[in-house]
């Protein structure tokens, strides 16, 4: 039995549909801009932020909008079905307004609003949450437990998260430059992304894709620093390729994590080198959306689907000169090419790594 994926949505400072977001980044636009005196110590910080000040209940609003958009692109009946599950990917959820219990209330609201048969399942695994949530959706569908899974990820920019990354000296004082020689750290972003994962290709309004396989692996090395050998990323990609019976050379494109920190990007280059995949065209989308944490895996997978629909690979914004010890084939300009099979990866705090493969039907 195949699993299908499609009906992608993205909400970012650039727009509220995957198509709009794709067209704008294809034209070189970014959601990142300078915000004055917003960081700890009243410093100026580059962010990909939707509003100057977040409206009330913004986390719930993002989830609701994203889910509403996906429903418009599929058979609208399935949302209420007992065969349908909603998976939510987030790191800090509604931390701005409800620090003591940031997740349960928005989830209850969502269940009520959409008349969901089951309570949504929340995946909270740092920066791999989005990719992992899609993998969990596929696993649940393959097991026969559910037929359809709406997977939506969202995170909002908060003082909490911004100050935290500042305390780690991980925030770049320029828009982030993943994999570049001059990269100085991350740029935070906010937004939402979502897809439908289903065992039935007929519920999608537009053509869908085959979700081939996805796995995760821990580095077992350090909680806030990536492995020097890229062990977890190496293992998850190896495992995904093996379970999918796909050889590295069959992958047309890698949508990497590429945060723009020195250690993360270096680790990814080592892992892809060990995998023999460093000649495959690769990008990081963080230069357009910032690092949207729990939303990133979904936003970036949605862009992958758009790349496959349009047969255009997007250049890695902020990249000029390779800054990792292992060579990578980083896209320095958009490329018109047949995109049949893609690999999406993510890595995060807690030493977690995840990967997934999607291909055209």
């Amino acid at each position: 039995m195949k699993t299908y994926i499609g009906a992608e949505n993205i909400i970012s400072p650039l727009g509220t549909t995957a198509k709009d977001n794709f067209n704008l980044i294809k034209n070189g636009q970014t959601g990142i801009k300078l915000f004055k005196k917003i960081g700890f110590g009243k410093v100026d910080v580059y962010l990909s932020k939707i509003n100057e000040t977040s409206p009330n209940n913004f986390f719930y609003f993002l989830l609701k909008q994203c889910l509403t958009s996906i429903i418009k692109d599929v058979n609208p009946e399935i949302i209420k079905s007992q065969d349908t599950i909603v998976l939510i990917s987030t790191t800090k959820a509604d931390i701005i307004e409800n620090l003591k219990s940031p997740i349960i209330k928005p989830i209850q609201q969502l269940k009520k609003k959409f008349n969901l048969h089951h309570s949504p399942i929340v995946i909270s695994n740092a920066c791999i949450s989005g990719v992992l949530a899609i993998n969990v959706a596929n696993n649940l569908i393959q097991s026969g437990k559910y037929k359809h899974a709406f997977v939506i990820g969202a995170d909002v920019i908060s003082d909490f998260v911004l100050y935290g990354f500042q305390s780690l000296f991980a925030i770049s004082n320029e828009p982030c430059q993943p994999f570049d020689k001059n990269r100085k750290g991350i740029t935070l972003g906010e937004g939402a992304g979502g897809v439908l994962v289903s065992n039935d290709s007929t519920v999608f309004e537009s053509p869908c894709f085959e979700f081939v396989e996805g796995t995760s692996s821990n580095d077992a090395n350090h909680i806030s620093g990536p492995s020097r050998t890229g062990e977890g990323l190496f293992r998850t990609v190896s495992k995904t390729l093996k379970l999918a019976s796909i050889k590295p050379h069959e992958i047309d494109f890698i949508s990497a994590h590429g945060t723009g920190t020195s250690f993360n990007d270096e680790m990814e280059s080592i892992a892809f080198d060990r995998l023999g995949m460093n000649e495959i065209p690769l990008n990081s989308l963080k230069g357009y959306f910032g690092h949207t944490l729990g939303a990133s895996g979904l936003i970036e997978t949605a862009i992958c689907l758009q790349s496959m629909r349009n047969n255009v690979l997007i250049k890695s914004r902020g990249f000029e000169k390779i800054g990792t010890t292992k060579a990578l084939n980083i896209l320095t300009k958009n490329k018109d090419t047949e995109v049949n099979t893609i690999l999406k990866t993510a890595s995060g705090f807690g030493g977690c790594n995840a990967s997934l493969i999607i291909r055209k039907l």
């Binding site: 909270s124 097991s143 293992r235 379970l243």
Partner: protein
């Protein structure tokens, strides 16, 4: 082959059980994490920099390993970790927030524990486990999801799953860890299913507690 719950433990605010048998702890008034660390005779300096949520998860895994030494016979990528709670990392989130709200500076040492899946990382580091790991958040212990997703993982590439529910709310600690293995056993053990999980869970943790 059938999926069995082969070992389980409960840790509450000042009591602890393994496979339903209470562990005699010397000092009921002392912090349970300190008591258990001493009881297990651990020598792991990294333990002391962990937050309370992580410490409790870590100790639960150590209790299970001590009771079921077969845990250590699995290869480094054969055990998946599946953990869950209702409050994410709320206790540490509040502590981190207070570092910068009262005129101080944000603490990086606290910030890195403001994600619930960090405890999965600490368990992986301690045991050199490279398997699948998933952290979920739900209002209550979701026996259905645990049962379903364990079966999914065991049908895929994992050989065993170490699961845990760890919720801390002020002084109230609710911990239930269990180890699920694929076994070909004739004698009756505890089968993995949601009814069995709920029954075991509630032997020590009250409903709506």
């Amino acid at each position: 082959m059938t999926n069995y719950i082969t070992t389980y433990c409960h840790i509450l605010s000042n009591e602890c059980w393994i496979n339903g048998e209470q562990i005699a702890l010397p000092n009921a008034n002392e912090d349970i994490t300190k008591t258990l660390y001493n009881h297990l005779e651990l020598d792991y300096p990294k333990f002391f920099k962990m937050d309370r949520l992580t410490k409790i998860a870590f100790l639960g895994v150590e209790l299970i390993k001590k009771e079921n030494t077969e845990v250590l016979t699995y290869k480094d990528d054969e055990i998946a970790l599946l953990f869950s709670n209702a409050k994410s990392s709320a206790e540490t989130d509040l502590n981190f927030q207070s570092t910068y709200q009262n005129g101080g500076v944000p603490s990086p040492a606290l910030f890195v524990y403001t994600l619930p899946n960090i405890l999965l990382g600490e368990i992986a580091i301690r045991n050199k486990w490279y398997g699948e790991s998933v952290f979920t958040i739900s209002e209550n212990f979701d026996a259905n999801f645990f049962s379903n997703y364990c079966s999914v993982l065991l049908n895929k590439s994992e050989k065993a799953v170490l699961c845990g529910w760890i919720n801390i709310n002020n002084e109230n600690v609710e911990t239930f860890l269990f180890f699920v293995e694929k076994k070909d056993l004739k004698q009756l053990h505890l089968h993995l299913n949601s009814e069995q999980l709920l029954e075991l869970f509630h032997t020590k943790i009250k409903k709506n507690g």
